[in-house]
Amino acid sequence: MARDVRLLTEPFNPGQFIGPFTNAHPGLGGVCTFVGEVRADDDAVEALELIHYEKMTLAGMEDLADRAIARFDLMGLLVIHRSGVMRVGEPIVLVSAAAKHRREAIDAVDFTMDHLKSDSWFWKREKRADGWHWIEPRERDHTDLSRWG
């Protein structure tokens, strides 16, 4: 089982990670990958900032990856999360799971994304014309988490 967990403070290109990750697991049945980007659902948002805490954020991501690995039958798991200031269209997160069977790969990505989005040590703020605004947790995030018991 190859586990690759990274917290990046600079922009990244998902393709540069996905290809090598897939190639590193010969014999796999399938790879599921989710890439999340800064969404353009509000023209007023000029930038997004994610703040992480050096002593906890990466360790928490590694712990989450271990839980996904314990729960699903995987051949490999790749978890990448950005920190810092990002603009619309920039990748924030990439989760890729390789497995013998597709259900395991898809579910592992779903599980990992739900927990990354609502149960990892990131704080988010948006820059608008009048300055930066902190984003509060969404109720939906807690609903998502409760799916996994």
């Binding site: 002593k55 906890m56 149960d119 990131f122 704080w123 988010k124 703020r125 902190w134 947790p137 995030d141």
Partner: protein
């Protein structure tokens, strides 16, 4: 040496800095004495968590930091 307080997310805005060095040792009452006003109220809220050297406290009122420790004040996470 002393204890370093680290303010995450909007807590940093409330104090105007993301770090402050305070006298060791530091317990919960000492922390509240140190943090007056809005930041003090925020820290007392249930949803604000406290970690020492990266380890989350199950009960933040049991805080007992010594010289060299880093005490993080963690508001609710807002997701990636």
């Amino acid at each position: 040496m002393a204890v370093t307080l680290v303010f995450l997310g909007k807590l940093a805005d409330l104090v105007g800095t993301d770090q402050r060095v305070v006298q060791a040792p530091l317990d919960w009452q000492g922390l509240l004495d140190e943090l007056q006003g809005p930041i003090g109220e925020a820290v007392q809220q249930d949803r604000t968590r406290v970690a020492v050297n990266g380890a989350l406290l199950a009960d933040k009122t049991a805080l007992s930091a010594v010289s060299g420790d880093e005490v993080a004040l963690l508001p609710p996470v807002s997701g990636g």
